[in-house]
Amino acid sequence: MNILFFASLRELLETDSEQWLDLKGAQTAGDILQQLKQRGEPWVSALSNEQLIISVNQEVSNLNTSISLGDELAFFPPVTGG
């Protein structure tokens, strides 16, 4: 699974991506989020923002969206293009 971070979130976490070879029991995007938050700071603060957007395979999703190992997840703040 490929997990991507963008914009201010990317800067807070000091990383733009990571690859997971094992889901460690995670079945939803919310499960992945929980596992990331278990790392402590800055993950807890950065990923607790209620405006955080989650996408699975490039479609905006939510905490309940099912995920599988070959998926691409991304976490990012509200968009500001145009």
Binding site: S8, Q58, F76, P77, P78, V79, G81
Partner: protein, 163 residues
């Protein structure tokens, strides 16, 4: 809104380099069919905003793959809703300076009502859905721009008024 079309509508370009409105207009004018009666274009530019005098420009980040996919869905929705001939969306990324062009939306149609509406629709949805993020750059630091409530409110207009 699900699309039954198997072919994607219009063209989308995400690029660092600047674009020429004259070139894009000429391409739209050539058109796919001969029934073009109206062409509507919009250009977004980097403007000096905020109180600070040391603004140097803007950095644009995006999510490669998802931006194109998202913009294509918006174009396909516009094509289902209005009778359009062709459409072009260009969005620049990377470091831009003040007054530079950021985004272009151009649409050709038989009639002006469809052209005007589709152009505005695409811009309104691009601003609330397409994964780009702007960062204001100053002489010595930079700051991410916050999403605006007013952009979310503009979307309501397209649900309330189905023309």
């Amino acid at each position: 809104m699900p699309s039954n079309k198997t072919q994607s509508f219009g063209s989308i370009r995400i690029q660092e380099q600047d674009f020429s409105i004259e070139t894009e207009y000429a391409l739209l004018r050539k058109g796919k069919l001969s029934n073009i009666g109206a062409i509507c274009t919009f250009t977004g530019l980097v403007r000096e905003f905020g109180d600070r005098k040391d603004v140097t420009g803007m950095f644009l980040e995006h999510y490669p793959g998802m931006t194109e996919h998202c913009l294509q869905k918006i174009l396909d929705q516009a094509a289902e809703r209005w009778k359009l001939n062709d459409m072009t969306v260009i969005h620049r990324v990377g470091q831009l300076t003040l007054s530079e062009q950021i985004v272009f939306v151009g649409v050709s149609s038989a009639h002006r009502a469809d052209a005007f509406a589709a152009c505005e629709f695409v811009m309104d949805y691009l601003k609330t859905e397409a994964p780009f993020w702007k960062k204001e750059t100053y002489t010595n630091d930079s700051q991410w721009v916050e999403a605006k409530q007013s952009d979310q409110q503009r979307i309501q207009k397209w649900s309330n008024n189905k023309t």
